[in-house]
Amino acid sequence: MPKAAKKKDVILHAGIPVKAVYGPEDIRGLDYGRDLGDPGEYPFTRGIHPEMYRARVWTMRQYVGFGTPGETNGRFKYLMAHGQDALNVAFDLPTQCGLDSDDPRADGEVGRVGMAIDTLADMEEAFSGIPLDRVSVSLTINSMAAPITAMYYAVAEKQKAPADRVVVTPQNDILKEFIARGTWVYPVEPSLRLVGDLIEFSAKRYPRSNPVSVCGYHIREAGCTTAQEMAYGLAIAAAYVELMLKRGMPVDEFAPRISFNFTCWGKIFEEVAKFRAGRRLYARMMRERFGATNPRSWMFRSLIGGGGSAFTVQEPQNNIVRGAYLALAAALSGAQTMALPTYDEAYTIPSSQAQLVALRTMQICAEESGVADTADPLAGSYYVEWLTGEMEKKIQAELAQVDRLNGIVEGVKSGAIQAEVARQAYLFEQKLLSGEIPKVATNCHVAAEQPAESHDVELYAFDPKVAEAQVAKLDRTRRERDGAAVGRALGQIRDEARGTGNLMEPILEAVKAYATLGEISSAMKDVFGEHKEPVAL
């Protein structure tokens, strides 16, 4: 057998070249107290809790939602019966874009990629039998975060859950929607105002809510590099902090409840270094730049999830193995919450069996692998500490690039950030094609015979009756409600939208009167108008 060829240059996604061996000379300048600190201590490089998973293992939160609220309620209960301790709700596209299920633009999309929500009646059904004072729930909702979270608060109120026991995390990160994912509705400025309204209202009324979850995840899924994912996430967080400071809220009144949602699907050590560097940079930014004094304001609390980008259509069972590596990377990165993509995700809405495999993967990682035995087990590794420092420099360089665009908000308005993400996606695709980035069974070790499509996944059988049932329920709700009360509430939303006050109160009134999401979103659209996408390739 011929000797294996010497491996060519290794360059990480962030553009950092990697040597074959690292030693003490690579971390000569490292100062433990200044650069790392103990776990739970500033600057939190080693994690935000003193004992990390020895004290409490990460929360397991699979992303679930499809069809009607009733169907989704059933899947929630299934996962909870198997040990999942928190929910992560997926909404269908009409809901995410503020359209009712009977809107012509919702044709073919009702209940497809998540559950359909038209009125409070749907939210009541989705969480029926689920005690909102005991379960923590994240809502993947952005431009419609204000009305959907208002519905959630209304259900919690009806369940008589004490406000200080309600733990809800609406994503509420509109800036990343303009960059990736695309469920924007209003122009950038009024969209930001709504983000601020929800943060302010929640901070005052629901002290344990996490009213914004800053996402690097979707931007990375759209194609950016590891360093850009962290840089854009930090820049977006800074934009929201500035927004709240301008409203006159002291930083320590809202910053402790800011959370993050990032992916970890690349090379394990690069991902770990990205999070260690990110925590350090965030802590310093919050303390030094924004003057936060509450240590909780300095902590980068994160949901670290998989990311379907890691997974392949070819030989989907291999994705189960990839999922296990993702879980390992997330744990070594110090995740507070974990979520994994399912092996069938490239094909279909996940089956309950695939969801269970993902949940079991996280449980095996937590219970069996030993990765949870001690905090930040990679600390002190020549390679990991060196790489953490290099990642920090790369992230800072990307942040400087954002500054040159006059900040993330202006970069989003002009489309410059979107164009850069698309450019990186194309570069990445070319590297996959050339084999520079290997993918087993896709561009290397490819099976001689390729089936047209794997038979190992069960395709989700989308039922067109879902839309009919949803529209029938919507009609019923419209008939049974007090139309005059709805009209008054919608009028108040328009009035407040023209002013500068917080929109959450009038939205909550409208929700309780069973105004539809489409009506509420249109009332605001009447005043705010619609976003015009800067289309840049």
Partner: protein, 132 residues
């Protein structure tokens, strides 16, 4: 023999906001010498038909990852016919299960590029349209 430069409209119909695939394909086609017009997100079928006619494109390429491809392709076929523009070929890519490929062809879709289709295969297939 000089080949005519093909004009293609890459369109995102419906509410799906995932545009990585559409943009990557647009970049690849541009590098391969196509004239590419990209609509941006959340275009209605009526808007796509209008733009295809105005821009006098040779092909319409839809990118759909939401699962709504059958509904949207049916609407597009009807929309093109209503404007007497059914001669413009339509191709579609995205999360399209194998079982939907034949129904899409029945709706008049010329080529389907399901998930996992290599980029060069898309480019080569579309180059053939210059000879059509």
């Amino acid at each position: 023999m000089t080949e005519r430069k093909l004009r293609i409209l890459i369109a995102k119909p419906g509410l799906d906001g995932h545009d990585r695939g559409a943009k990557v394909v647009a970049h690849a086609l541009r590098d391969a010498g196509f004239e590419v017009i990209y609509t941006g997100l959340k275009r209605t079928v009526a808007e796509i038909v209008q733009e295809a006619i105005q821009e006098d494109v040779d092909v319409i390429g839809l990118s759909i990852l939401s699962g709504a491809h059958l509904t949207l392709c049916r609407q597009l076929a009807e929309g093109l016919k209503a404007q007497n523009a059914q001669s413009i070929p339509v191709v579609v890519g995205g999360i399209i299960p194998q079982r939907d490929v034949e129904p899409l062809r029945q709706l008049g879709v010329r080529d389907v590029f399901p998930m996992g289709t290599p980029l060069p295969a898309i480019v080569e297939t579309l180059k053939e349209y210059a000879h059509a």
